[in-house]
Symmetry: C2
Subunit: 199 residues, 2 copies
């Protein structure tokens, strides 16, 4: 590796800091960039700079945006009285792809995790309470993940929201659609059994 | 995906053009860059620009360099009378890592491949002949790969070099060290058997 010129070594070093990119892959990517057209390398570098410089958080939902309000918050056809609370922007995208939700979102930017030193003050919980206090919100669907941290965060939020005039619900957990029971983990089956409903 | 802001979508698009990086991985990398420190994203972008702008070919061996002569060609302790011919800069690095060679290199920048329209004029063969004509070269080791194209290129070079006052050799092929015979492919075994030598 030390036989490459410093420019190449530096590009390999920077690329290998990306998640899931080891030194070998970084070497392959850097050698590819060297052979690729000048225009492509420039547009890749520019897109990374623009990504950091121009992407901001929506002032309403704290999701990713390039203007004050994100596309969903700015869309008048979305149901403003229904708010779905998620951990990260990628969770919001997953729900959007499902097509099963027409309300707006609130992105916590994380999950309660005392082990990592993340408390309520590190999440956008105060901003959620303020949104609800401004009225016009009828229901909050808590869609944090079904991990221990996600469930704790959901319980914490439910307790906070119980003092406000708003309906609070939790996204259902159970057997995945198309899931074969024998391959589903025991905790999921136990929870799904407890959450059984009449037909 | 279309729920992300355009800056993020563009970064995902540019990253997914890298080899082996699909749309899902590009999304993960872009979201990582968004969370990463500003300084890291900037240094990654700068390293890509510097890679294209400042990396050049060594005027002697045509390997990657950031100045007129690469480190190996500029190193007076390397044996200048011994030249190893390889296809790509990465091949040179592989040989350097082995520590088994103390001469200099000549990087062809490819391999003869009529199917892809790559003929002798597209490789740095003329430059190799000129280097030898300038004298001071005693032996040329051809270390192109052992594929059909690599072998054809080696044969072509051997024919060209046979007219010059220089010894021409080919890197040995055979059973890899530590290789278990039952896992080695038949062509390699056949070739290794033909190339057997006295003990």
């Amino acid at each position: 590796m030390q036989y490459y010129p410093p420019t190449l070594l530096n590009a390999i070093k920077q690329l290998s800091r990306l998640p899931g990119i080891g030194e070998k892959t970084a070497e392959r990517l850097a050698l590819h960039l060297l052979r690729a057209p000048e225009r492509y390398a420039a547009s890749l570098a520019e897109s990374i700079i623009a990504l950091k410089g121009q992407t901001r958080l929506c002032t309403l939902c704290h999701g990713l945006s390039d203007s004050e309000h994100c596309r969903i918050c700015a869309n008048p056809s979305r149901n403003a009285s229904l708010i779905c609370v998620v951990e990260q922007p990628a969770d919001m995208v997953a729900i959007e792809k499902s097509g099963g939700f027409n309300g707006r979102y609130h992105i916590l930017q994380g999950v309660l995790s005392p082990m990592d030193g993340i408390g309520p003050g590190d999440l956008r919980i105060q901003e959620l309470l303020e949104r609800i206090n401004q009225g016009a919100v009828a229901e909050v669907v808590i869609a944090t993940s079904t991990s221990v941290e996600g469930d704790s965060t959901a319980a914490f939020l439910a307790e906070k929201l119980s003092r406000l005039p708003v309906k609070v619900s939790r996204i259902a957990s159970g057997i995945p659609i198309g899931g074969d029971l024998k391959y589903v983990d025991q905790v999921t089956i136990k929870r799904a059994m407890e959450a059984r409903h009449d037909l």
